[in-house]
Each structure stands twice: as C-alpha cells, then as structure tokens.
C-alpha cells in the first residue's frame, strides 16, 4: 500500500522495516535530535565569532548595539514564544483527534513566523538605509569607532540572517504539516511528523532566545 492510499485511514502507518510503532517513532525522533545537534553546532560557529569579537571589542559592541531597536527585538521574541506555544497546542490537538485545533494552531504559527519576518524586514531596511552594513559596505559615520563597527554588523547580519533562513524553512515545513493535517493523515496514534516539525520550530525559537539578549541587550 502506498503512502497516498494509506492516508485517511485511522491507525499507525508502520513501515515494513520497523517491528513496532514505538520503534518507528523513536527512530524518527532520534534522527531529529541528531539533526538539531548539528544545527546547534552550525550556529555555534557564529556564537564563537560573537564571543571572540565581543571579548576583543567590548566598547564597540556596547556602542553599536544601540543602533538596534530593543522594542522590535522584544516584540519578535514574544511572537516566536507564542508561535512555540501554538505548535505544542497543535500537537495537543492531534493527540486528541481535534483536526480544527491542529489546523488553526498551525495556521497561527505560520502567521507568527510571517510577522517575525515582516518585523525583521523593517529592521533590515532601516539598517540598509543608514549604511549599518557588514565590512566594506559599512558607511555610517555616526557610530563611535566607525573603522571597526562593521564587525558588529557583520556578526549581526550573519546570525540573524541564518536564523531568518531557518524561519523561512520553518514556514515551508509548517505549511506541509498543515496540508497533511488537512488530508487527515494524523490521528491520536500517529502524529510523529507534527512532533518532528515542532522540534525544529522550537529550536528556531531557542536560537532567537539567545540571539535577542546577545545582540539587543548588551551592557
């Protein structure tokens, strides 16, 4: 039976290379956690760059971070935290077989991801217009120690940019999950894709939880 034929029927779709449903769920979660470990290490390289440059230029980081808007950063933090809540509520709905709860919560999560990106767009365009850009493109003379301030904005754009790409990928994953939920592929016995996708979305949230104080709230 193909996946297409298997969908829409209640029960757990057990692949032939697994013995028990629990084994299949564990295997998928183990794979996801290993993937999340590599994600942490990808961002880890950027956190090292941040740590070293912050250590070398503490005054520069203190001065340059004032060009970021704390209110927008805090707003985006709340938006992402709320989107994490809606993801777990979607899984909760799937556990109880409430299709509308799954669909609405996934929809709210996608709306939150979109809101996050719109706010980021306004932040980025403000920086483009003020010349607060990485490296060679840095042209803002009002920043204290302008010959080195480009370092902070290089790190800012790399970290938030990589995070932003993850948000876009998250929106695609969440839309796919919504499509599958719409086709009745999930039920209280089987909702692994929602859990796996949820784990990815929570990691995106956790990365931002660290980026927000490190970039916007420096003393």
């Amino acid at each position: 039976m193909s996946i297409a034929k298997a969908s829409g029927v209640a029960g757990f779709p057990l692949h032939e290379h697994f013995e028990r449903p629990e084994q299949q769920v564990d295997a998928s979660k183990l794979g996801m956690w290993l993937f999340l470990a590599t994600e942490v290490l990808i961002f880890g390289g950027l956190f090292v760059a941040y740590a070293v440059y912050h250590y070398l230029h503490p005054e520069l980081f203190k001065a340059a971070h004032k060009f970021l808007d704390v209110r927008l950063g805090a707003f985006n933090t709340v938006v992402l935290l709320f989107s994490s809540l809606t993801v777990v509520l979607a899984i909760h709905g799937a556990q109880q077989g409430k299709k509308q709860m799954v669909l609405w919560n996934l929809f709210l999560t996608i709306v939150c991801a979109g809101t996050f990106l719109v706010v980021k767009y306004f932040e980025y365009s403000h920086k483009f217009h003020s010349g607060l850009l990485p490296g060679y493109y840095f042209t803002n003379a009002t920043v204290p120690s302008p010959d080195e301030a480009h370092i902070f904005f290089g790190i800012y754009f790399l970290m938030t940019g990589l995070h932003g790409i993850h948000v876009v990928i998250g929106m695609i994953v969440l839309s796919w999950l919504m499509f599958r939920a719409y086709r009745d592929e999930f039920n209280p016995q089987y909702y692994s894709p929602l859990e796996i996708g949820g784990l990815y979305w929570h990691l995106v949230d956790i990365i931002w939880i660290f980026l927000f104080p490190l970039l916007y709230l420096i003393r």
């Binding site: 029960g11 290993l34 070293v52 010959d147 003393r219």
Partner: protein, 152 residues
C-alpha cells in the same frame, strides 16, 4: 516505495493544556525580566546574567515544549554532549584570544601578567597605513596597553 501497514499505535502522552500556558507565561515573564535587567549595569556580570535568563528560558522550551523531560533520556544525552563540545569550542577560542598579550615576542615565552607588552606583529607592511589607530609595535616597544584597547 516501502510498504506501510496500518497497525494499532502507542497511546499518546498527553499533558494538560494548562501546563503549556503556564510555561508560556513563565517565558513571557523571563523575557520581561531580561529586558528589565539590561537597564542595570552589573559590569562583566551583565552578560552572565543575560545568558542565565536565556538558558532558563531555553531549558523550559526544551523540557516542556520539546517534551525532553518525558521522552527517552538518550535525546537529552545527545543535546548535552552537543553543548559540552560547543562550550569547549567557545572556551578554547576565548582563552586563545585572551592569552596572546601574555607572550613575550622576543623570547617567545610567557610573561607575568603585570609585564604585558604589545606584541602585535603585522604580516603586511601596509597594514599600519590602513589602520591609523594601530601604533607601530616596533616604535612603541613598551606599550602597556593591549593592541585592542588603543581605539579611544
């Protein structure tokens, strides 16, 4: 394509919805706390305080939203190992940067902390012209400031 059979699946591990809303409320409070705390200057402790709050928030998301607390503990081992190696990565890089001014360029050995000398050596002859903030290390042999504290 692999074959799929519909079987009886495991019963879901359901938490009360109130738990999720409580954790969300705690996360909002901690966000407000970290913004509020940033108003005060704790000196070098400020980053530590901010990271402590962020780690608490991340732990809440991991334990409750990501179900780590209730799941197979091996997932936690994977995550823990990741953070151990990430800390080593950050620690060694910062230690390296922090100890460079302790090395005597003449004899290439360590100096006591109070005898720090400027040991910045440039590979490019034009670099001093490109970076006027940087003093000539040969002329200022006994500059007691590190190369990075000369900006102001």
């Amino acid at each position: 394509m692999s074959h799929i059979h519909k079987v009886e699946g495991p019963a879901p591990h359901v938490l009360p919805v109130g738990v999720y809303w409580t954790v969300f409320g705690a996360l909002l409070c901690l966000t407000a706390l970290t913004v509020w705390v940033a108003e005060f200057d704790f000196g070098t402790m400020s980053t530590t305080v901010a990271l402590l709050v962020a780690t608490t928030k991340a732990s809440l998301v991991l334990a409750c939203f990501m179900h780590l607390w209730f799941d197979n503990k091996f997932y936690g081992v994977i995550l823990g190992a990741t953070f151990v190696f990430l800390s080593l990565f950050i620690l060694f890089c910062v230690m390296d940067e922090g100890s460079r001014t302790l090395i005597d360029p003449e004899r290439a050995n360590f100096l006591p902390r109070d005898q720090k000398v400027l040991q910045y050596k440039t590979d490019h002859p034009d670099e001093l012209a490109l970076r006027p903030g940087l003093k000539d290390p040969v002329k200022d042999e006994l500059n007691f400031e590190g190369p990075h504290s000369q900006e102001e």
